[in-house]
């Protein structure tokens, strides 16, 4: 259980779930949640590589903290967008928001 592969395996599963969620979910909030999953899978990777990569400094940790901060900002903006979306089209179903269709 103390090998790099096991961490990567977990993060891969998380990433796959995240992508799956982002692509299949119709609800904008659920998509946001999927994005969070993806970000966190990346965080796991950062930290795992830092731990097993013989790095003297804590670069991976710093990056993951950045990602968390970014995720918080992103969640705030994304929620604002969702609220605006709801205000404009009366739903948070992303399939309904296809103004850009060619």
């Amino acid at each position: 259980m103390n090998t790099l592969e096991s961490y990567l395996f977990v993060s891969s599963i998380l990433f796959t779930f995240g992508i799956f969620g982002v692509i299949t979910r119709k609800n904008a909030v659920a998509i946001l949640m999927g994005i969070e999953l993806i970000l966190n899978s990346a965080n796991i990777n950062f930290i795992a590589f830092n731990r097993f990569g013989n790095f003297q400094i804590l670069d991976g940790h710093v990056f993951s903290i950045f990602v968390v901060v970014l995720a918080a900002a992103e969640a705030a903006i994304a929620l604002a967008i969702i609220i605006n979306l709801f205000k404009n089209i009366g739903t948070v179903d992303v399939d309904e928001a296809k103004e850009l269709r060619g």
């Binding site: 692509i23 992303v94 928001a97 060619g102």
Partner: protein, 678 residues
């Protein structure tokens, strides 16, 4: 440039000045035009008269010559210059005197005409060009002015161009003159190429031997005179030229321009070969006789005078042909006086008739038809007297100028016959015959116009004598028709005097002028008796026919008609008809054929077939362009683009997750590929 040069230049430029002023400022001057033109022509007249007196009182007469180079093309040097001798001085006097009188006369005759100033302008350019002919020292310069008088004649004949006939008459005159002028030009060039000069005096000096070439050249140059002086067969334009205003007829078509041909032939006379002179004499004789016969049956007063002019010009030409060139020039001058007088008198009558008709509001009666006149003697005494005097002159009655000159010409023809015998007998016959007929038809004119009962009393009632501006020229010209003026000798049968002394017999390159002089002198008595006789017969016949009305004219004409004579005269020897038949009709036929070939075949078939082919080709090309290039290739590209974009736009669904899926799949593929190729 000395005084004489300036003086000669003035001859040319005074009338030209009048022309320039009136043509450019005429619209402002209008009815005052004669106030400009008259003094200018008066100055020209004074100039001529002073020259004449200077010449009269100098022993050898004047002889002035000067020339300047006009242009130079290496070996060819053309110069412009003047040559003045006694003949040209007299000619200048005649031209400027009659021009002056006609200017004066016209101020009344043309009064109120809408183109009054232009009329005077044309008279100015005519006088200018006529002086140019007289002054020229070379044939080429003479030819230039020759064409200029042709132009002014054309302008003045067609002066009333809003009427139907004058423009036609002007064209006829111009085109007929063209025929003669082409001959003249060829003749001048023939002389130039063999003698390398245009100068008349140099030509006279250089030509020394007779040749057929010279004969042909001489006859060709004479052709110019045939056209301009209305000799048979180119005389047809002159009767039509009477469509112009009557003073113009007096100036141009009686006194001066038509005499220019005689003047020119007089100038080249010394080097005309005897053969050429024979042709000249024959043409003159035919013209004199035939025109006199044609004049008998004219009813238009001006037409009688027109044919009479042709006949008298024929006399002059005949005189040149028989070598009596001194009498030709003498007759030119006397004829200028009495014929101008006759024309101005007829103008006076026409003027009166016109006013009377205008008064009656009658626009259909012809004011020139003698059948509408009669008995005008008492109403127009001055005109009648002047016309009677000039008729005496033209008929060859002693005491009048025409007698002297005509007598000399007839003596010349008789002498010519004595020297040559044979067929030349027709020359005196034509001469005396024409003299008799002239006396006859001129008195016919007088009797029909001025005597007898008025044929139209209502017109007669309103006839008045013309105003002074018109009668003064008549009086002056009739005085100048007296024999005394030309001889200063009270013997009416004696032609010697200042005039003959001034001209002299001169010399001829091939003929012995002394012999001719003696011949004429010898034939003189015989000719005088005969000419008095024929004039007497003619006048008496006329009195019997038209004054006493003893003979029914209709019966006589019917009788003559049986042998075809009357009809011949009435139809002017069918010359116009012959031209119509042999020149005009074939030409029209030829034009018609040419037009058919050109239009129906060349244009319609050939040219239009090109059009048809072009049409077909362009249809094909249009088809290719539109249906293939445009529709298929150009539109095809856009159709393809359209089709592709229609297909491609489905990708752009607007559903964000699809994009993401696509992006993710691509990423996966890229990773797989990178893994593959590592």
């Amino acid at each position: 440039m000395d005084f004489n040069d300036i003086r000669i230049v003035l001859y040319l430029f005074l009338p030209l000045l009048s022309f320039i002023i009136l043509i450019f400022f005429g619209s402002k001057i209008k009815d005052k035009s004669h106030l400009i033109a008259l003094p200018i022509i008066g100055l020209t007249l004074l100039n001529s008269l002073s020259l004449l007196f200077k010449s009269l009182f100098s022993h050898h007469g004047l002889h002035l010559e000067n020339s300047i180079e006009w242009f130079n093309t290496g070996s060819l040097v053309i110069s412009l210059g003047y040559m003045i001798d006694n003949v040209s001085i007299i000619m200048l006097c005649v031209v400027s005197l009659i021009s002056f009188l006609v200017h004066l006369y016209s101020s009344e005759y043309m009064k109120g005409d809408s183109r009054y100033s232009r009329y005077y302008a044309y008279l100015g350019i005519f006088t200018f060009s006529m002086n140019g002919i007289v002054l020229s020292d070379s044939l080429i310069m003479m030819y230039i002015f020759w064409e200029l008088v042709g132009l002014s004649s054309f302008l003045l004949i067609g002066f009333w161009f809003e009427k139907p006939n004058p423009p036609l008459a002007a064209n006829k005159a111009f085109l007929t003159n063209r025929v003669g002028d082409i001959g003249m030009f060829i003749g001048i060039m023939m002389l130039f190429f063999s003698f390398e000069t245009f100068n008349i005096n140099e030509l006279v000096n250089e030509i020394s031997s007779e040749s057929i070439y010279l004969t042909i050249a001489g006859i060709l140059v004479f052709m110019g005179a045939v056209g301009k002086s209305a000799q048979f067969p180119l005389h047809i334009w002159l009767p039509d030229a009477m469509e112009g205003p009557t003073p113009v007829s007096a100036l141009i078509h009686a006194a001066t321009m038509v005499a220019a041909g005689v003047y020119m032939t007089y100038r080249i006379f010394p080097f005309l070969t005897p053969d050429a002179l024979m042709v000249v004499a024959l043409i003159g004789a035919i013209t004199a006789f035939a025109a006199a016969i044609s004049a008998i049956t004219r009813n238009d007063i001006k037409a009688v005078l027109a044919y009479s002019t042709i006949s008298q010009l024929g006399y002059m030409v005949m005189a040149l042909g028989v070598g009596a060139h001194i009498y030709a020039f003498f007759h030119l001058v006397t004829h200028a006086m009495f014929k101008a007088c006759l024309f101005l008198c007829s103008g006076s009558v026409i003027h009166a008739m016109h006013h009377s008709l205008h008064h009656l509001d009658d626009h259909h009666t012809d004011p020139q038809d003698m059948n509408n006149m009669g008995g005008l003697k008492d109403k127009m005494p001055i005109t009648h007297a002047a016309m009677l005097i000039s008729t005496f002159a033209i008929a060859g009655v002693p005491f009048f100028s025409g007698f002297l000159s005509k007598d000399g010409i007839l003596a010349g023809t008789l002498s010519y016959y004595h020297n040559h015998h044979g067929w030349t007998v027709i020359l005196p016959i034509a001469g005396f015959g024409a003299a008799m007929i002239t006396a006859f038809y001129m008195f016919r004119l007088i009797f029909k116009t001025f005597y007898g009962k008025p044929k139209k009393p209502e017109i007669f009632k309103h006839i008045h004598e013309s105003p002074f501006a018109m009668t003064i020229p008549l009086i002056l010209l009739s005085v100048l028709s007296l024999a005394f003026i030309f001889t200063f000798d009270f013997n009416p049968l004696h032609a010697d005097g200042w005039f003959k002394d001034m001209i002299g017999y001169g010399k001829h390159n091939f003929l012995d002028m002394n012999e001719i002089k003696h011949g004429i002198h010898h034939a003189h008595d015989q000719a005088m008796i005969l000419s008095l006789l024929v004039a007497f017969v003619g006048i008496v016949a006329s009195i019997v026919f038209y004054y006493l009305n003893k003979v029914n004219v209709d019966k006589v004409s019917k009788f003559l008609d049986m042998i075809g004579l009357y009809r011949l005269s009435k139809n002017k020897f069918y010359v116009d008809e012959i031209y119509n038949l042999f020149l005009y009709q074939p030409f029209m036929k030829f034009s018609k054929i040419a037009s058919i070939v050109d239009w129906d075949y060349y244009d319609q078939k050939f040219i239009d077939s090109w059009g048809w082919i072009t049409l077909k080709i362009s249809k094909l090309s249009g088809n290719a362009d539109y249906n293939i290039l445009d529709q298929k290739i150009i539109d095809g590209t856009s159709h393809l683009t359209n089709f592709t974009s229609k297909k491609l736009k489905k990708i752009q669904s607007g559903i964000i997750q699809n994009y993401l899926l696509g992006g993710f799949m691509c990423l996966v593929i890229i990773f797989l590929l990178i893994q593959q190729f590592n």
